[in-house]
Amino acid sequence: MSPLNLQIRTFKRFLHRVHKGRSLVELNLLMMLMADTFSKPAGGSQPGSGEPQGSGWFRTFTIAAYKPYFDVDTSDIIDRLKESLFPFRGTFTEKTATNPDLYGPFWICTTLIFVAASIGTFVTYIAHKLKKKEWDYDINLVTWSAGVFYGYVTVVPLILYVILKYFSAPSGLVQLFCLYGYSLFVFIPALCLSVVPLEIFRWVIAGVAGFMSATFVALNLKAHINSAGERWFLIVTGIFLLQLALAVVLKLYLFTVTV
């Protein structure tokens, strides 16, 4: 006999007593007991509440599905940031293989958008003021840089993931997002330094930052896809050039001042 049936039988007996006695107290007690039973999950008749409910594709829309990717402490994040500044070590992927995080990539991109928009605005402002010309704030800088950064960090790892799967050297998608996100960190100090109005200096900064970032991505990936065989060199150079291209595009759009 299931637990629910047992409880119901107990109730019926109790009820008959109550009906006979017609006592208010017993009626109250009965109500409380009934409420208690009907609200508690009776044995195995209802699904356990501790387990995450998931029905297939719904899970991508719950917060709990993404929690494992944010399981980092402040010290972890700082370590990873420092790691991204030394591109020639090539140990980033090992360190983040078991615990890739999405916090870093997302907030580095967001910070980059803000820094790019503000530095770009500031540069054009100074240039106009120096020549005593009229200046208007260009809100398009914000939207444009948002599109570039978020788009780059989302689309390129996706394409890379597909390519790597094709060459049977699969890497986890989240690890790729993590790698690309942290590779953009070096652009933050680079953008800050680009405030200096010397054109040559700006090109040097852009070049160095682009090179560091591209090497970071390339070396970390190389360790991973060495096993892929003959095509790895192509992939690695492709990625390298792409990152350099990003740096050049940034420099051209943000710091080309036509006054």
Binding site: N5, H19, N28, L30, M34, T74, I77, F114, S118
Partner: protein, 280 residues
Amino acid sequence: MSISHSDTIPLRPSNSQSDIDEIRSLIDDSVHSGPAVVLPARHPATTPPPSSSPFISSNIPPPPPVSSSSSLQKLQSVPAAPPPPPPVGNSSSIVANGFGPPPNTLTEPVLDTVKRDLWRIVSNLKLVVFPNPFREDPGKALRDWDLWGPFFFIVFLGVALSWSASVKKSQVFAVAFALLAAGAVILTLNVLLLGGHIIFFQSLSLLGYCLFPLDVGALICMLKDNVVAKVIIVCLALAWSSWAAYPFMSSAVNPNRKALALYPVLLMYLSVGFLIIAID
């Protein structure tokens, strides 16, 4: 069905559905045949309560004390709540609003409603933006949170920025509004993902109220036009906003991750401050 004095009932094979029906009919018999110990579901003088759900208790002031009848109604309404069978007709008088007759806010004058909401906004503002350093729990958020206040502040900031912009006014408003609204949502999600414990809308409400100093700063910047003065005012407003938001955000997460939860808040307010300075 004959009721005997003995405790035992002859067992017969039955399923739980018929058991439930039988129990329900027994309850009805007990209630209706008993003496008038069960008070009627509603006091005849008050009208039936409007639809407001009794479970969002924070926004409804406590019902007037209706002594024992309300507690009985509470108990009676609970067995009507669990799902399967629709309530039998003659038991409908038991299914009652278990919290006693609530105040009737549907028929009050509009001015009363508006005054009540405004008063709530003001009191929430005082709690959040001018926090008392000696209160018992600095991390305890608004109990009576609402979303009107944040809405006003966000719209006001958007309008102020759009007013001071000389070109592309509507685009400026759109970017400001989107930044603030999406920013509040993303900040809350960020805390939730880091394993913190907050209530989603309460956090939205709090982040909205913390915008008030920036609103004041934007208003002053609209009036004065000197760049250096603007920078100083905005820095002060920013510091005030961050100080207001700090205790709430930092107490919501694990201390190891405090900086991770606070940095985005600072970033958002910084970007808003930058927009205020830049748009002249």
